[in-house]
Structure formats: C-alpha cells, structure tokens
C-alpha cells in the first residue's frame, strides 16, 4: 500500500438475501445488491464526500470499510488491511462516527466514556491527555465532561462522539451523517473542527451526508452512489456539468411585462414570472455577462442577481437520469 491507495475498493459487492413471506408458509428469497461493484481509491489525507439517496448503499459501504460486514465480492483494503479479516487490528487505526448512533455511555458522564476509550485503544497516557485536551478545547466540551450523556443536547452529544472517535489518533475517520439534526451553530463548529483536523493531522476523512453544505465546505472530491453503483467520482464543480445544471438569473423590471425573450440565446428560458420579477434559467457553463447586457439593452432593468445552481437539485437530477437507464 502506498499513500495514494490508502483506501482501495475494487469491484466491491454486497449482496443480501432477503426472505419475505409471500403467503401462508410460503417464503420468497430475493437477492438485494446493496453495493454492486464499486471501485475507488482514496489517497491518505484526502477528505471525500460520499453521497447518495437513502438506501443507495452508503452505510453498507462504510460498514464494509470498518469490517463489520464482509463483502460478497471484490477486493477491499484500508491502510493495507482487509477489514473483515482483521477487524480488530484495523479498529485501532480508524475512527467511526455514526451520526444517529452513539458510542458513549448513556447513563454516565462523558468523561467515563473517554476513560473507556483510553483503555480500549490502549492509548499512552500522555497522548490520551493531549488529545483529550485538544478535543475539549476545539469542540468546546469543557463544561460537559461531567454531565451524563443522556442530558446532553444532540449537538453536544455529537461533538462528544466525534471526540471519542479521535482520541486514539485514527488515520481514517468515517463520518456517517455527522451533522444530522444539528442546529446551524453546531454544524459550523463541527465543520470547522473537521477542516482543522484534516489540515493539521492529515487525517483521511470519508464523509457521508445529506447536507450538501457539508460537502461544499469540506470536500474537494465527491463520490455519488446510487443503487449500489458509483455514478459520479470527481470534483464538486464537475457535478454541475454532469447533472446539466443551470444557473438562475433573477431580474427585477420596472413594471410587469410579458416574459423576456432573447431570440439570440435559445438556451435561456423564463421559468417563473411574479409581477415585475422574472426568473431566467441558463446553462451553468454559459457566461452571465452578455445575457445581462442584452437584457439591460432591451428591457427597463431595475435590479438583478445570479443564483448558483443548488447542488441538491443537481444531484436529484442525476438520480433521475440514472434511474431512467
């Protein structure tokens, strides 16, 4: 293994046998291909977004990467280790945060769970204290250490969970929906922490999320999975092209007018009219400047703004395109 192939997947598959009752005493066996031949490489120190709709196979992939699920086919390595064969060995080198689950002891103060991590990962005392102090400071946990976990808010608990996953200096961090259900302030705090972690310790991060702002703010590279297949792997910016995304020009005119018509620009179309305000959609690749000049020349323009494509709708479009195949 070299640093370019820190996480390696070659044609990884996971097939579940689902048994379903179809009638009295009759059962039907059905194969569900949760992950259907996925290949990718993640170099050490990269922060990658791993996104897709519910049931696309994201969590199944993460579970295979931690070793708690064995792939049905293909080859999978993390730090040169086969996760399902050497789960315990790998566990010392990875950190996992499942946003909707907690590794913390529900009834006991946060501090007790950290003491447990100290023993579980056999962290040298000085290292443990150093890492704990750092997490406490950056994640603002000082006042929470002696509070039972059940009394923490969701955002506080999540920060507590992230700290718990990092005390043993993992080289890889899998984050499964780390900002789910958090308020804006908590989200910002978590993102800032992850950015610093990646920058200072070059921890490799694989981030699964529904919140595309997470991806926009943290990851240069994004992988999109749908129906167990990788449908996109590349720069975030490139997603727009693949998803044929459009930007929106919002135009305020002096008065109500019929929809704007620009004969020379067939790719521009009015998508909405509301009084004197009109919304025009145009391909993301087309420059807005000549359009604005044309409109200003032909119409009584008061104000305008350009809206960047909403990545969510870009991906939604991709899913639609994909399922049509």
């Amino acid at each position: 293994m070299d640093d370019m192939d820190f996480i390696e997947l070659d044609g990884v598959e996971k097939v579940f046998d689902v048994r379903r009752r179809t009638g009295f005493m009759r059962r039907e066996r059905r194969e569900v291909r949760a992950v259907d031949g996925i290949s990718f490489r993640v170099p050490r120190g990269e922060m990658v977004g791993y996104i897709g709709p519910n049931g696309a196979g994201k969590s199944t992939t993460i579970k295979m990467l931690t070793g708690i699920l064995t792939p049905s086919g293909g080859r999978l390595r993390v730090a040169g280790i086969d996760p399902s064969r050497q789960r315990t060995k790998l566990a010392h080198r990875i950190g996992v945060v499942f946003g909707q689950r907690t590794t913390l002891w529900w009834d006991l103060p946060l501090r007790d769970s950290y003491r447990l991590m100290h023993r579980m990962y056999r962290i040298p005392d000085s290292r443990y204290r150093e890492n704990l102090d750092r997490c406490v400071e950056l994640l603002d946990l000082g006042a929470l250490l002696d509070v039972p976990v059940r009394q923490l808010s969701l955002g506080q608990r999540m920060r507590g969970d992230i700290a718990a996953a990092l005390l043993h200096d993992p080289e890889v961090l899998y984050l499964d929906e780390p900002t789910i259900g958090l308020d804006v302030v908590s989200k910002a705090k978590v993102r800032e922490f992850l950015r610093d972690l990646n920058a200072e310790r070059s921890t490799t991060v694989l981030l699964t999320t529904h919140d595309l702002t997470d991806i926009e703010q943290l990851c240069k590279r994004v992988m999109v999975i749908d129906h167990g297949r990788l449908v996109y792997d590349g720069a975030l910016a490139g997603l727009h092209e693949v998803g044929e995304s459009e930007r929106t020009l919002v135009v305020d005119l002096e008065r109500e007018l019929p929809p704007i018509e620009l004969g020379s620009e067939p790719s521009v179309r009015v998508v909405k009219v509301e009084g004197p305000r009109q919304w025009l959609a145009f391909p993301a690749a087309v420059s807005a400047a000549p359009l604005v000049a044309r409109i200003a020349a032909d119409y009584p323009l008061v104000d305008l703004s350009v809206r960047e494509p909403d990545i969510e709708s870009v991906i939604a479009k991709m899913y639609v395109t994909d399922s049509r195949v």
């Binding site: 708690i68 064995t70 566990a91 590794t103 009834d107 003491r115 447990l116």
Partner: protein
Amino acid sequence: MGSRRQMPAHYARALWRNEGGDVRLYAVVAAGGFRRHATYRVATFAGVFTNTVFGFILAYTYIALWDERPHLGGYDMSQALTYVWLGQALLMTCAMMGGGFEDELMERIRTGDIAVDLYRPADLQLWWLAGDLGRAAFHLLGRGIVPMVLGALAFDLALPGSPWTWLAFLVSVALGVVVSFGVRFLVALSAFWLLDGAGAMQIAWLAGLFFSGMLLPLPLFPGVLGEVARALPWSSLLQVPADVFLGRYAGWDLLRAYAFQGGWAVALLLAGRMLQSVATRRVVVQGG
C-alpha cells in the same frame, strides 16, 4: 472467506488472550456497569422496598407451609426462611427475572446500534459480560444487603457462622451470575433472527423464575421434574448458592457444586460465542 470459520480453538484463544483488549479495559467496563446502575438511586430504593415486601409475603407463606410439613425438602423452618430472603437478595444480582443487560443488547440489535459495538476493538461477549458483572456487584450491594438484614431482624434466620461459608457462598453467587449471563446472552442474540426477541426473553424469565428455585426450593419438586430442574442451568442462580449458604455442601460436595455451575457457565459462554460469530457474520446489521 471460508477460512474465517475457524471454530472453538479460535474462541478459546480469544477468551484467554482477551483478543482486542486487556484486563484493564474490561475492568473499566465492569466499573461502568456498576456505576450505571448506581446512578438510579430512586429505582434502587423502590426495588429494595419491593424485595422486602415480597420477602415478607413469601416468608409467611413458607411459615404456613413448614408448619404443616416440617423439614420439607430437608430444610427446617429457619433454613426455609433464610432461603426466602436469599431469594430476594439474589433476585436482581443473578437477574432471575431479567433486569440486566439483555434488554439493552436486544434493543441495540433491533435498532442497529449494535454496529457501534461491533467495530470496536473489543470482544462483544466479554464486553457485555464485564458490564453485567459490574451490574451484579452493584445489585448484590444495593439490592441484596438491605432485604437480607431486614429479613434477619424480623425472622430467625440460619446465618452461617464461619467466614469461609460466606466466602464459599460469594464464589457460588459469582458463578451463578456468569451462568445467568450465559443464558441471557444467548436469548438476547436471538434478536438477530427474530427482530423482536421480547417473546423469547419472557420465556427465559419465566423459566428462570421457576427453575432457579425462586418460587419453591427445587428439592421440593417431585420425581423426574425435580431431577430435571436441578440439572438445568437455572439452579445455579439461586438453589446452589442458597444450599452453599445453608452449609449443605461440604468438602468434595462443594467442589462438585462449583463444577456444576462452572460447567454450565463454560458451556453457555462457548455456545454464546458460536452464536455470536454466526450472528455477526451472516446476519444483516439492521438500519442504514
């Protein structure tokens, strides 16, 4: 992938070497189990109250019974009353009617939170065993001592004179807790297949209540039923420790009683390990 099915040798090694952890880790888990239950003081107080009330009800029932049939099952009146209060004191310690980790483990399997337990560098069974031993230690102190003292104040109990008998009793209780864990772990793992294991757990609780000797000492059960009841693992939970307490085992008989409990403990733990490995390998971890 087929080579991963190395059988018992692998489990034995894991048990003895403490694969994926060390003694200190499981000591922390056990301490956590103790403190988690110690957190709930009101519940503990209410539990002590309940144990005491039931202790009195059962004690008067036994008095009526032993008045009619003295030396029933070879116990005299004060031994029978001692048996009643031991039952109340050990009810939670040996989790005869549940109340240990099993609900939590089943819930974690049902919701998929078990995934969190599985990626840790620790052994699932040892983890829960350590936690349950911590819990049992708390329940012995928190739920055992007060009912026993109240029972001893209200009735003439046959308390052991020798400290060695007390020690022998504690060893037997510890073995009983492990046997009880072994049964509950097996039942809890059934949730991997049953999705809702509450039914299986209720059957196990009922069996525990009846076959531990909680309602009536097992020597009172007639014929084959009695022999079967005494051979089942549940007799390790109350019947055997109580008989050790009452001094009914001496010398080799005591060792034989320990061997009986220890044998069940090992058998159940090994069965648990095998079921665990099948469960974690073959069964889908619930939830996305």
